[in-house]
Amino acid sequence: MSGLALLMGLLVLAYAGSFIVAAHPGRRLGSTSGIELVVLGVALGPEALGVIGPDALATLAPVAHIALGWVGLILGVEARASLRRGTAGAFLRGFGLALATALAVAAPLFALLSGFGRLGVQTSLVLAIGGGVASAGVLPAPPAVEGEEATHDARASGADLACIAMLVLVSTLASWRGAPTLAWSLGVAGPTVGVLLGLTAAALVGKEPRDDAIWGVLLGVSMLAIGVAARLSLHAIAIAFAIGAMLAVASPARSQVRALVAPTARPVQLPTLVLAGASVDPHALASTRLLVSVASVALAARLLVRVLAARGARRTEERAAADGTPPLGVFVGLSIALASPRAQDLDEASHLGALLLLIAALAALFGELARARMRAAAVPSASGRPQTKEASP
């Protein structure tokens, strides 16, 4: 299928989807994590049905990069809103939980991979931390207790920030070639560019802008950031996150910006998930001897830390968060970022992205099951209202 035809198809899908969503506001189609779309992508991809061929994938790669950058921007814009409501504690708890999960998964994974012998220290470290990030995070699940939305959103934002920081770390590690200055600059240059562009965007958006004016600025800044990130081998999602955070901090029109961009997250993510799935080579993945052991260790470590966290949690909501699934944008970012040419220079790296995507997908699947169990057990709220932060992964 040609790139143009596929793009048109995605456009029509998005268009039809917008009608369905508009007809049922508040109702979410499919799972919260959108994991079924990754599976759909694998099925449609070049290694399975071949509906999305290699050429179409190459043509649409920029679309995926733009989508990832846009997701980063939304996460950044959302971050301040979570902190502003006096929910710094929840934010920090989300941050800490994500960090703890990532480290808890990364440590046994690193031990396993180092023991395997064929992988170098660098590759093992990248894969281990990558697996940790793929397993971490808190997806904003619907609060069972009414009035808990702010706390819940803050926790999710904290986890997002932790994941993005670790993503930058993984990216920097993947490009490490014995030159600390280069690696350091990669870790610092991205956020610096993001902060500069974010301040520029805040200045341009102004105080009481029109909606289309905001769109103009956001599109311009995001696309420039994503293009520059690709040129300098920086992490687009981290730069875009910094832009969003700066906008949220410095722009007087932050509420308007947030109201505009938040509803776009899911429509942007879903096609990206299909593309991420299509970029996975299931045959190559199946031939990787490490597959079963790595996936099992990652999953077991994640479950362990989540169970411990849930035991320590005081409230139902805390437990629901502890059982949450990884943020969508992060695992999509992982799969694509690690499939970049820079990472492919590493040993067995061509399978890294797919392997990490698999870890994230398994974590998402178990998270979905846990959430379903929690929802069934929880007392419904008075209004029976749906979750409030659907847009933010």
Partner: protein
């Protein structure tokens, strides 16, 4: 742009902020391109789109203080960043950016059609007929003469015999008759102008598109006899032209009715519809050998005049166009071949000057004969100077049909269009301001008023 209520200090702060923002984005892309000079890829185009959108808008806001039209600001930003100046955007990215043109031209044509109110057209029919006839006749004769007179200055024309020179001059004269719907609409979108001059210019420029397409087909047939020995007159070209025009109008009418029905039933998701039309439907039209510009023009006209959805339709185009036009014109600026312009500027200036003078004379004469309003009599020439994408498209057709004229013909067209593209919008905006038809209080911009944030 300055607004009535903003204090001078706020205005200065706004300009400084915009200047600083412009410097930051130039610096970021400068560092990125210099750090990775060998980088080639689609991401370069993504960065270019973002950069042109921001830089074009900021440059236009800064130049607005000097009374320069926004469109010129977009062009300047593109020229400065383009492959012939700072090289922030490379040749490959500039070429890839042409895909934005199809969307921009579809929007421009639909907006142009929707701006044509049937009642106004009917009222101005006499004026339109006179001006079309006189502009065509004066430019046909005058530009052939100017081209032949400039022969010693034109490298590719020197070896041509009299017949071939006459044929080349004839083709040149048709190109000279082409105007720029995009520049016209770009200026009108910025100034929000309303009045007799606005209506006249819009009606004339949009209808001249159709006239030029027909005349080019005729000129190609006649010029072939003059330029190529042994060639004879053939009706085949006119047959194809008839098919193109009738087909485009029919399909445009159908599309317009469908759009009107869609607007009535849904009235949402229009940006997606426009993207699908701009990219997808344009491909279909090309496959069918129909003229996309004419088709979309008719569609816009139908929505405006045969339904009650005209306002909604125009508003939606304006909102989306605010972003698309910036990239379109800024990439046109990046396209400008500065070394070529430096080489051919004397003859380009001569030909562009001749065209402007002849357009001025014909406009004054036709306005007098048709007894137009005083403001039209005085300023109607101003909207006829700009040339842009349509002229370049026509010149590509000529180059394809007459390879013996070589790349020199197209190079001269490029140089002349570059001059008209830079000067035309300035003259038109000035005329609208002088005629009192600009409405600065209703102006729109992609970048909001920074001063308000201070």
């Amino acid at each position: 742009m300055s607004r009535g209520g903003a204090s001078p200090r706020r205005g200065v702060v706004a300009r400084l902020t915009q200047g600083l923002a412009l410097a930051v984005i130039f610096a970021i892309l400068f560092v990125a391109t210099r750090a990775t000079p060998a980088f080639h890829g689609t991401s370069g185009t993504v960065a270019a789109v973002g950069f042109l959108l921001l830089a074009g808008t900021l440059a236009s806001e800064l130049l607005d203080a000097l009374g320069v039209p926004h469109l010129t600001g977009y062009l300047l930003a593109g020229i400065l960043a383009g492959p012939h100046a700072l090289r922030l955007i490379d040749h490959a990215s500039v070429e890839e950016l042409t895909s934005v043109d199809t969307l921009a031209l579809a929007l421009i044509a639909m907006a142009g059609g929707a701006e044509l109110d049937l009642e106004s057209v009917k009222k101005g029919l006499k004026s339109l007929a006179f001006s079309t006839m006189l502009q065509t006749a004066v430019l046909a004769v005058g530009m052939v003469a100017a081209f032949m007179a400039a022969r010693p200055l034109i490298p590719f024309a020197r070896p041509l015999g009299f017949g071939a020179l006459l044929g080349a001059g004839l083709l040149w004269s048709v190109l000279a008759m082409s105007r720029s719907p995009s520049a016209t609409l770009g200026i009108l979108a910025q100034t929000r102008a309303q009045g007799p001059l606005t209506r006249w210019t819009l009606t004339f420029v949009m209808s001249s598109d159709v006239v030029v397409v027909v005349l080019l087909a005729a000129a190609l047939t006649v010029a072939r006899v003059l330029i190529e020995p042994g060639a004879t007159l053939s009706a085949k070209a006119f047959q194809a032209l008839g098919h193109e025009i009738v087909g485009s109008v029919s399909l445009g009418t159908t599309l317009g009715l469908l759009l009107a029905a869609y607007l009535r039933l849904f009235a949402k998701g229009l940006p997606i519809v426009f993207v699908a039309l701009g990219f997808g439907f344009t491909e279909v039209l090309r496959y069918l050998h129909f003229d996309p510009l004419l088709t979309f023009l008719v569609a816009g006209f139908v929505v405006q005049n045969l339904s009650r959805q005209g306002k909604t339709f125009l508003h939606a185009i304006e909102r989306m166009g605010g972003v698309v036009y910036v990239v379109f014109f800024a990439s046109a600026g990046a396209h400008l071949d500065l070394p070529l312009l430096a080489e051919l500027w004397p003859v380009a200036l001569l030909l562009a000057g001749s065209r402007a003078a002849l357009s001025y004379g014909a406009a004054r004469l036709s306005a007098r004969v048709a007894r137009d309003d005083a403001v039209v009599r005085r300023w109607s020439f101003a909207g006829l100077v700009s040339q842009a994408g349509l002229t370049l498209g026509l010149s590509a057709t000529i180059e394809h049909e007459f390879p013996m004229l070589g790349a020199g013909f197209r190079a001269l067209v490029l140089a002349t269009v570059a001059l008209n593209e830079m000067v035309g919008p300035i003259i038109f905006k000035l005329a609208l301001d002088k005629a009192g038809e600009s409405r600065p209080e209703e102006r729109t911009s992609v970048v909001p008023e920074v001063a308000e944030a201070e």
